[in-house]
Symmetry: C2
Subunit: 752 residues, 2 copies
């Protein structure tokens, strides 16, 4: 239950398993490639640093003003994975018939991956091999490989530090970005008596990334170690016999975070010891799981999948202001390593519940790129405010197709929403006044730039909502609803901080107000826009309309056999798709989930029934939201069907592209289906809500909620069990009814 | 009045004058570069064949289904222009202080360009030089250069046929298309005793283009001629003295039109004689001007400009089914030599009035690429019908930005409109049944594919109208109005031809009906769509709305100094532009001009006043239409102001890009302002209409109308004088009043 396990080696799946067995810690991610190499088959032999970026040209078939001409791209860094093995001079490879008792684990408690098999030499002798990997969660710059060989004969290992790396490219698949693969050049390469090292530099952004590998050998027999330099690699050869353990302790650093990354990497290796690292890893994870674990009773597959997801989130979420969580985490090269709204809408809601301290870093990243967003707003012709890039690493807009990129202005509200939620969960007013409110106010300004009052209502034209099967529409419901929320909070926070009784807060905010040249009149105008925000509604259908014109279009001819290919985007011209009522992903339904208070329940339920019929879920960000709202709608089996649709997406490679990396938003979204769907968890202005249901073949599930310095445990079976483990008494609403939580007395009540 | 004249040589203007002094005949176009070369300055030394195309890759920053991955590009063909000159071994160049009495003419009567100057050698001797060029209008494959030198000393000429050509590229200006410049490779190159020749092949489409140059020398003194071959060129050296005339008669052919183009080119030169050619050129032009001339009294500048325009139309309009008229004619490389809707909406209306026989070829070209349009319809996901490419040479879609390209479905109706108009002008029912109706019906089908009935009205979603400052809108007025017209005619022609009493017509149409698998039910459905077409109207403003949502957007903040840069497209992001009420060019107003009967006069006039305020005329296709409708509105001075805005566009390089070629739609549109604007010419279901006004500083103007085998002359001064020169009596409406035209008696009436 605490492991991802694979007991067979299947060459055709190796490139997929490289993603699944990725080992990372939010700073560095190493795909699960084999140290000794493969006899054949595809591989993407990548190691990535969160936040590191190069820039490559972006070419448009027809140029227009303000289209980006360069884009960020996450480079592959030096390869530390390779360690070739010879037993009595015979190379060890996983050739059919030459090995047995193969297994690989990703261990969520130990925080390591382990791989082992027995290799049979041509002479019939057996060698026992075991490979262990660990990305330290305590010091994210450290990464350990351990290769253990037991063999009654000569053992030779050749560990390679390869600096001549290129990114993956597949000209046939536009999603992987053909061309521009050579992103790093070698600046320094060499070795000391015990360490090999390489410092690379990105080709266009001149960022440095240093890797130092310290080799440690343990053996009872005599051992010989030698180093050899090649043009782009250092080879470290270890020769011994019988029983040999090679540990490679790597330090990864970069010039975003260190003035002298090479020096810093050497420094780190000088002050860490390995045994201590592994113990601290276990301690770290004990604490992680104590707070963040989600238990499922009665369904082992789902339990395993959800633990896998929570572990992968831990491995990929950035841990400082230089990084975030990219669409594929640190597990692959899909989407160029860019960060999207996935962070704020799919990942942060989970982290807020069980790891709020991680959210702060993700928000600090957004604050760090605020200037880039201000710059982008100017480029877009706005007079003030900040317009966050739809996809980026460094902050610049990297979207090549603006109708489904830059036009998604809603990312501004998505980011503001996350800042507001973080404040409400943590009540961290210092972070709010020092960092958050500047982002909230600057992003709010854009709504006043792109929206306008007409006949007493506030309209927002020419934007694209979350659903990318329509583009450049007027009054997108999701966008308008999120902007309504955003503008209201911008006004309220301005008033609240300006009227603070704490002189430090008041002074700090006053300085910001002056810096932003903002006054009460401006935020009153924002409040008016919020109050008068037009939310398109169709009287005939009794539902909120995705946009002003959406419901006037014909419905996609689902029954026509010429229109049944999936996903639509790979088989139909955008205009054919745009012309119809058809959704790639939740749009109005997502808004109903996030901002339930803007619509009446009956309209939400009718909307769910309506939009569900015309949604293809061609985006991996869709099923999870429909699952949440199916539960809200009271349809337990449908909610579980959506959960089921998402939960095995990567583990079973259901979209056929897990090789390019794990689908992080789907991972987080699936957990959200559990927490916000099955458990009905909501955070509203009046506090926390639960509305638990129990999927048919589960007997129970439990999880923790961390909220304003409290720890609340929730267990749902036939009954609902709530316990306040840490913190002051509070009220929580279950099925809309107030329940008092105190430490003295657990709550045990019947499930509806 | 019959010449474009330039009496000064200005190096900074030479590249512009290359466009203005272009010599062509609808098949071949040779830019007005200097035979002897320039001492310095920019040049685009191009010769082009109408309809010839290569294909180059088109790269998208983000790929989507159905986006074109290659595009057509008009290649530059072999350069025949060069003839270097030495007087007593001193090279002749237009270096300041070394020449006098320079002039250049483009003569509209002789059909030639002439250039002359006196060159002074270092020794103080004078050489008289004269350069003549003629593109034969009688045999469009022939082109003549004549170089005449009078000098009291040794004269040496070196005529070069250069096959190593590349297209123009300016990486800084996206409109000229950087990269992909080497489009032609040399297949054959050589010379005979009197001819040099080169056959080129396009790099990707493998089309051949042959050029043969026959050299003829006239002199009283002895002359020596020699040939030299270089890698990519043939040099023909002529040495003589005193008085030397070199004639280079070129034959241009290509493998689109000839099985063996090289052979065909040699053939042509063997059977033509030069003196005859020049005489026939004059005869041809006498007849052309007799029918097509437009005279303006009282304003020499306008007279000159309009003659220039009529001559340039003649030089660039294709004369066979392989060619059309590209955005820049045959005068440059802008827009890659692509054909747009410019042909049908701007050029054909003029040609219908005075050269209807030319229209047939342009329509035959559209019929020839009908299969490509059918193919494109399938690619776009339509089940039947034909969708013409927004821009193309060979028929394939070459638009790199589909929201302002492929989304302009209106091109289908524009093309059908031209076919219908041609039929109505000529009553050529054989062309209709043999060619036209297939295009009309197949293109009409697309409206049924992309439109839908809702609540009793027919809607067309997700299209872009002529105005490219909005994109992908619903119920664009122009598109819907044109589709309404198109669908009505598709129905009516289907009924008319099916019920024809002529058995040949009936049989031919029945075969087509079977081929298209079309029945009465389908066209009844089309008629219903036409009758129930939704034409968006705003009750409050009392005007037709550009699209369903257009009038709900805020008006462009014209008064805000941050929004005053022009043209908008070079200074603001598309989303900023799309979000506002602001027009690049006439849209609803164009529909009102073309389909006056779909709107009441009061709404049209209010619409004119409204849209005029928010139109930037950033497109060169705009002012002419506003000029026409200003006249219709009764505003003579405003109409003339628009005319004035267009009439000097190329002659004064007002858009700064005449170097890339002449703006053919503006040229034709300006003439349209005169005919449809000042003269108020309309062709409606009830026949011809005039509504003449006289611009303030003109004393009169006159032109001919050719209509159903008639020739009608019109002269407008303080009075209106109409004469039926050829053909049967008919009725014409002047200011809405019926006037009978007979040959016996001219009409002379008062102007309103």
């Amino acid at each position: 239950m605490w492991r991802l396990t694979q007991n067979y080696y299947t060459p055709s799946r190796q490139v997929i398993e490289e993603s699944l067995f990725m080992v990372g810690n939010g700073y560095v991610g190493v795909r699960g490639c084999f140290e000794e190499g493969y006899p054949s088959g595809d591989t993407i032999r990548g190691t990535y640093i969160n936040g590191l970026f190069d820039r490559v040209p972006m070419q448009h078939a027809e140029m227009a003003y303000g289209l980006p001409i360069v884009q960020d791209k996450q480079p592959r860094i030096a390869d530390t994975q390779t360690c070739k093995i010879w037993l009595d001079d015979e190379p060890v490879q996983l050739i059919e018939g030459k090995f047995e008792t193969y297994y690989r684990h990703l261990d969520y408690h130990k925080g390591t991956s382990e791989r082992s098999y027995v290799f049979m030499t041509s002479s019939g002798y057996k060698g026992h091999l075991k490979f262990t990997r660990m990305a330290s969660l305590v010091n994210p710059h450290l990464f350990l490989y351990r290769i253990e060989v037991i063999y009654d004969g000569a053992i030779r290992l050749e560990s390679v530090l390869e600096g001549g790396v290129e990114n993956y490219s597949n000209p046939a698949d536009p999603r992987t970005g053909a061309g521009h693969t050579k992103l790093m050049t070698i600046l320094k390469l060499g070795h000391t008596d015990a360490e090999s090292f390489v410092t690379l530099e990105t080709s266009n952004t001149n960022l440095q990334q240093a890797t130092v590998v310290k080799h440690m050998v343990y053996s009872d027999a005599p051992v010989d170690i030698s180093y050899a330099s090649e043009t782009s690699a250092i080879h470290t050869t270890v020769e011994g016999k019988q029983h040999l353990v090679l540990e490679k302790l790597c330090a990864f650093t970069d010039s975003l975070r260190f003035e002298n990354p090479t020096e810093a990497a050497f420094e780190m290796l000088a002050h860490e010891d390995v045994s201590n690292l592994e113990k601290r890893q276990v301690n770290y994870l004990d604490e992680y799981w104590r707070l963040a674990d989600i238990e499922i009773e009665g369904n082992m597959r789902d339990q395993r999948a959800v633990r896998f997801m929570m572990y992968q989130l831990l491995q990929s979420v950035g841990t400082d202001a230089f990084s975030n969580i990219s669409a594929k985490g640190l597990s692959g090269e899909g989407y160029e390593g860019h960060y999207f709204w996935d962070t704020e809408i799919y990942v942060i809601p989970i982290l807020l519940i069980n790891q709020p301290e991680r959210v702060k870093h993700l928000l600090e990243y957004r604050a760090r790129i605020l200037d880039a967003a201000r710059q982008r707003a100017l480029e877009l012709g706005h007079e003030k405010g900040a317009a966050y890039a739809w996809r980026t690493i460094s902050g610049i807009e990297c979207s090549g197709y603006f109708p489904a990129g830059t036009a998604q202005y809603h990312i501004n509200a998505d980011i503001a929403h996350a800042f507001i939620q973080y404040y409400l969960y943590t009540e961290d007013i210092n972070f709010l006044v020092g960092t958050g409110v500047e982002v909230i106010l600057e992003t709010a300004r854009i709504w006043m730039e792109i929206g306008n009052f007409k006949d007493g209502l506030f309209h927002i034209h020419s934007v694209t909502g979350p659903d990318e099967y329509t583009a450049i529409v007027n009054d997108n419901y999701y966008t308008n609803a999120m902007a309504k929320y955003h503008l209201k909070w911008a006004h309220d926070l301005y008033q609240m901080l300006g009227a603070s009784l704490d002189p430090t807060i008041k002074t700090q905010f006053e300085a910001l107000r002056v810096k932003l040249n903002m006054n009460a009149e401006e935020v009153e105008h924002m409040l008016a826009a919020s109050n008068q925000m037009y939310l398109p509604y169709d009287d005939q259908l009794g539902i909120y309309a995705q946009d002003a014109n959406f419901l006037k279009k014909p419905v996609w001819p689902f029954e026509n056999e010429n229109f049944q290919k999936r996903p639509l985007l790979l088989h139909y011209h955008p205009l054919t798709i745009y012309r119809h009522q058809v959704l790639k992903q939740a749009d109005t339904i997502l808004a109903h989930f996030m901002l339930e208070e803007y619509a009446d329940e009956a309209s939400i339920f009718r909307g769910f029934d309506y939009y569900e019929q015309i949604t293809t879920h061609d985006s991996s960000l869709s099923s999870c939201i429909y699952g949440i709202m199916a539960a809200r709608r009271g349809n337990r089996d449908k909610a579980y069907a959506y959960f089921e649709d998402s939960v095995m997406l990567d583990l079973e490679d259901r979209h056929g592209n897990t090789k390019d990396g794990l689908h992080m938003a789907n991972i987080s979204g699936t957990v959200l289906t559990l927490l916000a769907g099955f458990a009905g968890f909501r955070h509203k202005d009046d506090g926390l809500h639960l509305r638990p249901i129990l999927p048919k073949d589960w007997t129970g599930y439990s999880f923790n909620i961390r909220y304003r310095n409290r720890l609340i445990s929730v267990r749902v079976t036939e009954r609902i069990h709530l316990a306040l483990k840490v913190g002051a008494p509070m009220e929580i609403k279950v099925y809309g009814q107030s329940v008092q939580l105190t430490k003295a007395c657990d709550v045990d009540m019947k499930r509806e």
